[in-house]
């Protein structure tokens, strides 16, 4: 199954891909487009990817999780234009025990954020847009008032 899709994500469909009567514990994670970032009002986002590598990296992450825990994992990431409230990423992990389902699900979302070559551009209410850089320091608006030396 490809990981990238330009269609809306569907949690039930993802869960159906991994659950079975032998794997009765299913953990999922959904990441939804938020309406604010660095204190600015986000209208919509545009996700783009290095498609071939993103698919390869998603497949690697899923196999790593399935090797590390006795689980089945499904992962989808949406690309293109998304509105506030749309799901951008969904993960489902099913195992015989809840612990391994949670652990695998969490591993996958952390690795997706760290490794999958996807970028997003935010369109703000004021008409401007900017590429999101999760490694950047928050803008002044988000920083505590005092930037001076801590006593």
């Amino acid at each position: 199954m490809p990981c990238l899709t330009s269609s809306p994500l569907d949690l039930d469909r993802l869960v159906a891909r991994v659950v079975s009567p032998e794997r009765g514990g299913v953990a999922t994670f959904t990441g939804v487009v938020r309406n604010h970032h660095d204190g600015r009002s986000v209208l919509r986002l545009e996700y783009s990817a290095y498609d071939a590598m993103a698919e390869a990296e998603c497949a690697r992450i899923v196999s790593e999780a399935e090797r590390q825990w006795p689980v089945r994992v499904a992962l989808e990431h949406r690309t293109g234009h998304l509105e506030v409230g749309d799901a951008a990423v969904m993960i489902a992990a099913a195992g015989a025990h809840r612990q391994e389902a949670f652990d695998a699900c969490r591993y996958v979302i952390e690795e997706v954020k760290r490794r999958v070559p996807i970028w997003k551009r935010e369109h703000f209410a004021d008409g401007t847009m900017s590429w999101v850089d999760p490694t950047a320091r928050p803008k002044a608006a988000d920083v505590a008032p005092s930037d001076g030396p801590v006593p």
């Binding site: 990423v89 490794r115 999958v116 970028w119 850089d133």
Partner: protein, 96 residues
């Protein structure tokens, strides 16, 4: 993958041509999403990056933020590249 498997040629005896893919803010600043770069052998991912960033004014400031892939797998600036490799310069990832 298109990585050739010949052994490293003697230095200065050959040149290496790679396809470079750029994304997001870097693609915007360069005005393109891919370019072809030729450098004297042997060469590294970091050398390819330096050549690309030298092609536009002020691009060097992006250096600390970039990550790298060769043939669709993450790698580091000191990794060697060979003729025909697909090298990607990755601005900070923002998936998930």
């Amino acid at each position: 993958m298109s990585s050739s498997s010949h052994s490293t040629p003697p230095a200065s005896a050959a040149s290496i041509t790679v396809e470079v893919l750029v994304f997001a803010k870097l693609a915007e600043l360069l005005g393109q999403t891919s370019l072809r770069v030729t450098l004297p052998a042997p060469t590294t991912v970091g050398d390819v990056r330096d050549a690309v960033l030298a092609s536009g004014p002020g691009l060097e400031r992006l250096t600390p933020a970039l990550a790298f892939a060769v043939n669709r797998a993450h790698t580091t600036a000191d990794a060697p590249v060979v003729d025909g490799d697909e090298v990607a310069l990755l601005p900070p990832l923002a998936g998930g």
